[in-house]
């Protein structure tokens, strides 16, 4: 009998005699019978996802063999797109993680769970709000203005929804195709990598299995935003000398506005499933519930998910099945921001003499509506913003063996998806406004997304003469996505009870927003041949042709070739005696892929509208050209070389992969900003080239292998990507308007370089900074000097520098220590170098104005007595409302090492009688435990992970065109979570 680590039977495991070819498979109960040759001393047992086990017979003829899950050995089968492949035969670059392994990090969505765990897969937080998703970059960024998002494929069907729609509990495995030899089968969508998500299915012949997983946790603010307290602020205002106390301010008041607003958040997840099968079919059904209440009152995310899959053999040659993944989710409370709490003066008293709260506080120039957790909670029916999402992802397939050709199969996949989002908001009269009579406003936005895909696949899989294995796949597919949205808003809703449910009754202005429509399609042909000789020499060749509606006529088609080779060195006879090498494979791949991720209709140009009124009530809409057409818009494509080495050593105790790649992207799809004198803002064109080169290493080792009950596994990955722009349009090397510079990162900042502060007696202050003052920021001067070393001009635009933002290297690690029923796991991630942009400290955030107008982030600022500070003299020379060159204060070293989760589990099943077949595991997890080696954390105490796109969460955010820079802004604070969980299986 073969059982898993929970003593559950493992059907389908292979039991093989160690010294001969005799083998057998286990049945539905995990039982097997094998006829061993005489003298055989041991058997080798293998199963997908489990470590191979060599079991000595010791003369027994009844054995119960227990296998331990072992992802270090990597799943034996990987999903490669339009099929699966034995890991041994894979020639492309594929990183995989099993569902169980992934769930060691309890997270609301897959991308957060795998953050830092796979080399070359850079997952960055883009928001800290409940239900938020992340940005995924596979092997760096290659496109400047087109999308850099990887293609996601859910159970074989290209996925058009949000990763948040997939319940992590449903996931069986995630396989990420990283190089073009692997992704070329997705042709025009392969350039940014492909994430293949496979959900759980039942097993034929298995007993019904019921699972229940749950966890509950609390969330505390990881660190409050480091704002000044009362006395610190009084000192700042005095030092700046610009403002006297406003109506509600007094020097002896000390209010912690964040403390008044934040609450303790919670996270709550329940999930159940049932799966099983008969001799001819299998099923898997389940449901999940997830809820996260943020530390900001009323902010929360709730998700209900339902899934099901059925596979059924019909007669001998037909097989049919379907998969359905559905979820309903609710995102609430996004209208509650924290800028007010952060910028409110700590010396402004929110209380009246009788102890009641005021409506607003008056500072010298600003009047701010008071938000505390009680106020926000009490207003929840009059002040709300909620988005209700419903998504259903469905696929059905039919498969037929062609009876007269052995190994030939035809399969048709039909995918049908529908996604709907429904947003509504309501703000009652005077709420969050300094004016109590401000009219109530309400609005509704609806969007629908329809997606269908049909794939016709012919596969031929056969081994000739035991050594020649062929796998041939041919595909013809078509798909189409339709999106449309509408919105409306209204003022002066007659009753708070209406909220946003009856805008027609509004007595104020009713505005119909812009509708949005897009329909885009893709037609494809693909062929792939995989051949292996004796499991030693492997070759895979792919050709795909794609046509996209989004590109200009005549430029719609492009063909993508890819070839990859593999050599299983360990299968060579000369390796027979090298016993410490269990497996070694050398891989080489080349492929082309591309990126069609421009929006529909980009080739056609665009008019913008702007409104006007001729007199009080004669309204009109105007049009003007903002984008010129480009009738020659074609594909942006990447050429990729990949070199890999996979190895398993020391009796399968150490395994790893080393890869090197070069990825050249050409004909970049760019929205090119034009100078104002062209009369037009921009046009989309194929210009420029980028390059990504990188090295990736992952190692997994078993340090202690079941010694006296102890097991210790360690996993580690590190990767470095070098990203640069190779060429821009028409031979230019710099495009300052768009911030693109040849030889630098796509993400490079073009700004002055901070070099400290001007001190008393520093030469040339009056030349370099006319009107400047001692204590102001000193930036690098690059202009000429005369014979005496004296600068000849003032500092100006010519002195701006190019600052590369990408990190030097990053990676992650995980470890698992188990002793009897206990296990301890830890998952961490790290990053070294690069630039972190914090709008909190920079000028865009309006929280480091150093004028004393509003509260200020707590910084060490220059005064005549404190001259070695980093931050300039309060009240000194300004550019706009901020210190001159204030943006340079927002750049930090992005390095950090973070322990993402620490988890202690105990297997209660140990305590139950073996016959009960019940397995219960409980665990306690701490998430976001602590941060080390982070200069930003050291300065601010905050989480050094980004929480916003560049154009979000700042008083004056970066322009839309610089959304690509991830920043730390004034978003919901990052939290430290304490989670208690339970898994039950029977």
């Amino acid at each position: 009998k073969v059982v898993d680590e929970k003593n559950q039977p493992l059907p389908g495991a292979t039991v093989k005699a160690q010294s001969s070819n005799v083998s057998a498979a286990t049945d539905a109960n995990g039982d097997f019978t094998i006829n061993l040759p005489a003298g055989e001393q041991s058997v080798v047992v293998s199963f997908v996802g489990y470590a191979n086990m060599v079991q000595a017979l010791n003369g027994q003829d009844q054995l119960t063999i227990k296998l331990n899950p072992n992802s270090k050995n990597l799943e034996d089968v990987v999903v490669i797109g339009y099929g699966t492949q034995r890991r041994e035969a894979v020639t492309g670059s594929v990183a995989s993680i099993g569902g169980d392994k992934m769930r060691e990090v309890p997270a609301p969505n897959i991308s957060q769970a795998i953050q830092g765990r796979l080399p070359g897969v850079d997952i960055s937080q883009t928001s800290t709000r409940p239900g938020a998703t992340t940005q995924i970059l596979i092997r760096g960024q290659r496109s400047l203005t087109a999308s850099n998002d990887p293609l996601i494929v859910l159970d074989g069907i290209p996925f058009v929804g949000s990763l948040a729609d997939i319940n992590p509990n449903d996931v069986k495995s995630i396989d990420i195709l990283k190089d073009a030899s692997a992704t070329a089968i997705y042709g025009s969508r392969g350039a940014n990598g492909v994430i293949l998500i496979t959900t759980n299915r039942g097993q034929m012949g298995g007993n019904a299995k019921i699972t229940y997983n749950a966890y509950y946790g609390t969330q505390e603010v990881f660190a409050p935003y480091p704002m000044m307290n009362g006395p610190e602020f009084v000192a700042l205002r005095k030092a700046a000398g610009k403002f006297t106390n406003g109506a509600d301010e007094a020097d002896d008041v000390n209010i912690d506005w964040q403390n008044l607003l934040y609450r303790t958040g919670t996270v709550n997840s329940h999930d159940f499933g049932v799966s099983g099968g008969s001799q001819t079919g299998s099923y898997n059904f389940g449901g999940g519930y997830y809820k996260n209440q943020a530390v900001i009152p009323t902010q929360q995310y709730t998700r209900y998910s339902l899934r099901g899959s059925v596979d059924q053999q019909v007669a001998k040659i037909f097989k049919v099945g379907f998969t359905t993944n559905n979820n309903y989710n609710l995102t609430e409370g996004s209208q509650v921001g924290i800028y007010g709490a952060l910028s409110s003066s700590p010396i402004a008293n929110p209380y009246n003499a009788d102890g009641s709260l005021k409506r607003t506080i008056k500072m010298p120039q600003d009047e701010t509506y008071i938000l505390t957790k009680d106020i926000v909670n009490n207003l929840q029916d009059e002040w709300l913003n909620e988005t209700r999402g419903f998504a259903t992802y469905n696929s059905i397939y039919g498969e037929a063996q062609i009876p007269w050709v052995k190994g030939l199969k035809y399969r048709v996949n039909l995918g049908l998806d529908f996604i709907q989002n429904n947003n509504g908001y309501y703000t009652g009269q005077g709420i969050n406004s300094s004016v109590p009579t401000s009219l109530s406003v309400a609005g509704v936005t609806n969007s629908q997304n329809y997606h269908w895909v049909v794939e016709n696949l012919l596969t031929y899989d056969r081994t000739f003469a035991e050594k020649h294995n062929f796998n041939v796949t041919a595909l013809y597919s078509e798909e189409q996505t339709k999106y449309n949205s509408s919105s409306m808003s209204a003022k002066n809703i007659p009753s708070d009870a209406f909220q946003f449910y009856n805008l027609g009754q509004a007595t104020g202005e009713i505005t119909i927003g812009n509708g949005n429509y897009s329909l885009s399609g893709l037609r494809s042909y693909m062929g792939r041949v995989m051949y292996s000789y004796d499991d030693k020499y492997l070759i895979s060749a792919t050709l795909r042709s794609d046509a996209s509606s989004r590109l200009a006529p005549g430029y719609k088609w492009h063909t993508y070739p890819a070839v990859s080779l593999g050599w299983n060195v360990n299968n060579e006879s000369f390796m027979k005696d090298v016993s410490w090498v269990n497996r070694a494979k050398v891989r080489l791949g080349y492929g082309q892929t591309s990126n069609q991720a421009v929006n529909a209709y980009q080739t056609l140009g665009a008019l913008n509208t702007r409104q006007y009124n001729f007199g009080e009530t004669n309204y009109a809409t105007g049009y003007y050209v903002t984008q010129l057409p480009n009738a020659a818009l074609g594909w942006e494509y990447s050429e990729n070389w990949n070199y890999g080495l996979d190895f398993t050593l020391f009796n399968n105790r150490l395994s790893g992969t080393v890869e090197y790649y070069v990825n050249n992207t050409k004909d970049l799809l760019l929205s090119v900003g034009l100078p104002p004198t062209s009369g037009v803002n921009s046009y989309t064109a194929n210009v420029g080239r980028t390059q990504n080169k990188g090295l990736e290493l992952s190692l997994n080792g078993t340090i202690i292998n079941n010694k006296n009950g102890w097991t210790w596994d360690l996993g580690f990955n590190i990767y470095a990507n070098r990203n640069k722009l190779v060429a821009l349009a028409s031979g230019q090397t710099r495009d300052e308007g768009n911030g693109w510079f040849v030889g630098h990162n796509i993400n490079s900042i073009f700004d002055y370089e901070y070099q400290g502060l001007w001190q008393e007696g520093d030469p040339y202050l009056n030349i370099l900074e006319p009107g400047g003052n001692v204590g102001m920021i000193k930036v690098k001067y690059t202009g000429p000097v005369d014979a005496n070393g004296q600068p000849t001009r003032a500092i100006g635009a010519a002195d701006r520098q190019i600052i590369d933002v990408d990190p030097d290297f990053q990676g992650g690690f995980n470890t698992r220590v188990a002793y009897k029923g206990f296990d301890f796991t830890m998952v961490g991630a790290f990053k070294s170098g690069g630039v972190l942009i914090s709008t909190l400290y920079g000028s865009g955030g309006y929280l480091n104005m150093l004028t004393g107008r509003r509260n200020n982030v707590k910084v060490d600022y220059w005064t005549p007595e404190n001259t070695d500070a980093r931050y300039p003299k309060p009240g000194g020379i300004q550019s706009g409302d901020n210190p001159k060159y204030g943006s340079t204060l927002g750049y930090f070293d992005a390095s950090y090492l973070k322990i993402r989760t620490m988890s202690l589990g105990y297997n209660l099943g140990q305590l139950l009688p073996k016959s009960s077949k019940i397995n219960i595991r409980t665990y306690f997890t701490v998430q976001n435990a602590f941060v080390l080696f982070s200069p930003y954390h050291k300065e601010s105490g905050m989480d050094p992970e980004t929480n916003s796109f560049g154009n979000e969460n700042a008083a004056v955010p970066l322009p839309e065109s610089q959304r690509r820079f991830l920043t730390i802004g004034t978003n919901t604070p990052s939290t430290r979570n304490f989670i208690l969980g339970l898994n039950v299986t029977f």
Binding site: T244, L604, T609, Q611, P675, P676, G796, G880
Partner: protein
């Protein structure tokens, strides 16, 4: 077969739409709409006022304002925002105009509509050429052609080319084709085109003459390609302005100066062109009706020269609350008038109604509108005041008996024996406390008995061209030597304006009826010889802080002379010590820097980029 690959946009307009009649008319609407990205945009406004003899930076001024003051607290750079606004707005509009002109005949549009596009193209080129010197006429597809080529190169034409190829021909055609009365409220007319053309001729005449040797850029001889001399242009300016005055259509002067700027009279017959706004629709107003964010297309210019009056306290209570009222509005304290403005420009505050019709000098209690039902509050000298009573008054003349104390009204005001209101002498104003700008104050009819939406941008139209300016243009041309018609000398024309300024029907800051006609006294006070300095001072009295002062001063090359020094108090309440400040106004400042965004966006060599920039930046 390839249906999946076809494209048919259904929610966005493509440039093809521009070839339909509705598209062309929409193009015209976009041109009107672009006006409010310039006029009422406070940072652009600031660039035409701060640093002139009309205003300096205020206590809360940021670099955008200090840079413009040329007084050593900042310097104007290519990266400065205020000077880049016009550049960014004008070229897309010029291109839209060229598109309308090219497509209009194809769709059978009337010449009157095409003339509107011609007007706007000329209007923007005229603003550009005054501000930056020569600018490109070819945006990529040829001179004055609708640009369909994504060009990242640019060549600047010279000043005479811009005038003679673009501005003059377009406006001459526009005068012929535009109607006497606008096709829509605020629509373009012959009068508007005559006003701009006469001003353009006048400005070009000055440029040809160049009395103070101010350099131009790109380099160009001061000779006219059309073969005329400066004198010819001054005469044209005079003649066209007089034609406009004699053939006014629906336009004319208001009976009193107060009526010109009174919100209830918005869009009156004196307003030849304005950037319109509305309080009835947020969508069509283009900006929030509750909380303006401080950006175009909001009309938020009026916030700049409004001091933080809600700081005023009467016996501990905020007695003058932020209100959407023409006297009050949202305080940003970014700009301030100088003491010279109050004492010299507006020396006559008795006969001349324009001081009273320009500033808020009396701040009246409105605490009742904020929900405080206290019937009276104790104010200066322990005397009670009721809502509507004066809380703080800026006196017309310096009074040696005023005693100041920092705690007075919480704003360092003064008291005069027996007066219940706090007072401040004109010589005691500072960068933090000064009379507000009543002219541009907000006005709402939807505030009931409350304070209203004082934080929104003003929903009033922003004035761009007034009929009265024709008198100044003709007078200036006459001073420059144009032959005047009988009874239309420079002095005669100015006296029309001055006589009107002597007429009162309401005491604005006294808040009571005042029917007086001081026209005779006003005319009697006009000097026999109206010279350029007198005309400029008169212009400032008439159009104070409306945004055009810098253009007047650079046209007449009087900026350095008239704005070289000013006096004002400091930046904290209670500081009433006037400080004399000297400005450094170099010749290079007579042209604004080409915005860095333009230079950065060009695909040209470093040398070509350097040559694209105006000298000195």
């Amino acid at each position: 077969c390839s249906k999946v690959l076809d494209e048919q946009p259904r929610s966005v307009f493509t440039p093809e739409y521009f070839k339909t009649e509705q598209g062309v008319i929409g193009g015209l609407t976009a041109m009107y709409s672009h006006l409010r990205n310039i006029y009422g945009q406070a940072y652009y406004y600031n660039s035409g006022v701060t640093g002139t003899d009309e205003a300096t930076w205020g206590q809360s001024a940021d670099g955008n304002f200090k840079d413009m003051d040329n007084s050593g607290v900042g310097s104007l750079l290519s990266t400065s925002f205020p000077s880049s606004i016009l550049w960014g707005e004008a070229f897309p509009n010029i291109n839209t105009a060229s598109g309308v002109i090219e497509n209009a005949s194809a769709v059978g549009l009337s010449t009157a509509l095409i003339a509107e596009a011609r007007f706007f193209r000329a209007f923007d080129y005229f603003l550009l050429v005054q501000t930056f010197g020569g600018v490109p006429l070819d945006l990529g597809s040829g001179e004055l052609k609708f640009n369909t080529i994504p060009s990242r190169k640019s060549v600047r034409n010279t000043v005479p080319q811009v005038y003679t190829k673009a501005i003059f021909p377009d406006l001459l055609q526009a005068i012929t084709d535009l109607p006497q009365t606008g096709r829509v409220t605020g629509g373009l007319t012959k009068t508007a085109a005559r006003l701009i053309l006469s001003k353009a001729y006048l400005t070009y005449g000055w440029w040809l003459q160049n009395p103070n040797g101010i350099p131009t850029y790109p380099a160009a001889d001061r000779t006219d390609p059309d073969g005329h001399n400066a004198q010819w242009y001054f005469q044209q300016a005079y003649d066209i302005a007089i034609t406009a005055i004699d053939d006014p259509g629906s336009f004319g002067l208001q009976p009193t100066f107060y009526d010109v700027n009174l919100a209830q009279n918005d869009r009156n017959k004196e307003m030849v062109l304005y950037a319109d706004h509305t309080q009835t629709s947020e969508k069509y107003n283009g900006g929030s009706l509750t909380f303006g964010s401080g950006g175009a297309p909001d009309n938020f210019a009026g916030w700049m020269m409004t001091w933080n009056y809600p700081n005023i306290k009467s016996s501990g209570v905020n007695s003058v609350l932020r209100e959407a009222d023409q006297h009050l509005g949202r305080p940003w304290v970014r700009m301030a008038p100088t003491i010279e403005v109050l004492k010299n420009t507006f020396a006559d505050k008795v006969n001349d109604s324009r001081y009273d019709g320009t500033f808020t000098t009396v701040y009246r209690g409105n605490w009742n509108k904020g929900g405080n039902t206290t019937p009276t509050l104790i104010n200066a000298n322990g005397l009670p005041i009721a809502p509507g009573d004066a809380v703080l008054t800026f006196l017309n003349e310096d009074n040696p008996n005023v005693t100041y104390a920092t705690e007075n009204a919480n704003v360092g005001a003064g008291v005069l024996p027996g007066r219940a209101d706090f007072v401040i002498s004109p010589g005691a104003i500072s960068r933090i406390i000064y009379p507000g700008l009543w002219k541009l104050g907000p006005y709402r009819t939807d505030k009931g008995n409350g304070l209203g939406e004082a934080n929104a941008g003003s929903t009033r139209p922003y004035p761009i061209l007034k009929f009265s300016e024709l008198y100044f243009i003709a007078a200036e041309a006459a001073i420059k030597g144009a032959t005047a018609q009988a009874n239309k000398s420079a002095r005669d024309l100015i006296n029309v304006i001055r006589a009107r300024a002597g007429k009162w029907r309401f005491d604005n800051n006294g808040n009571k009826a005042k029917v007086e006609d001081n026209s005779a006294a006003m005319v009697a006070a006009t000097p026999a010889n109206v010279d350029l300095n007198y005309l400029l001072a008169e212009r400032s009295r008439e159009f104070y802080a409306e945004g055009g002062r810098w253009l007047d001063l650079i046209r007449t090359q009087k900026w350095t002379e008239l704005a070289a020094t000013y006096t004002i108090g400091g930046t904290s309440f209670g500081d009433h010590t006037p400080v004399k400040v000297t400005r450094t106004i170099d010749n290079h400042l007579y042209l604004r820097p080409i915005p860095q965004g333009q230079i950065d966006g060009l695909e040209m060599s470093a040398a070509e980029k350097a040559a694209y920039q105006n000298p000195g930046y």
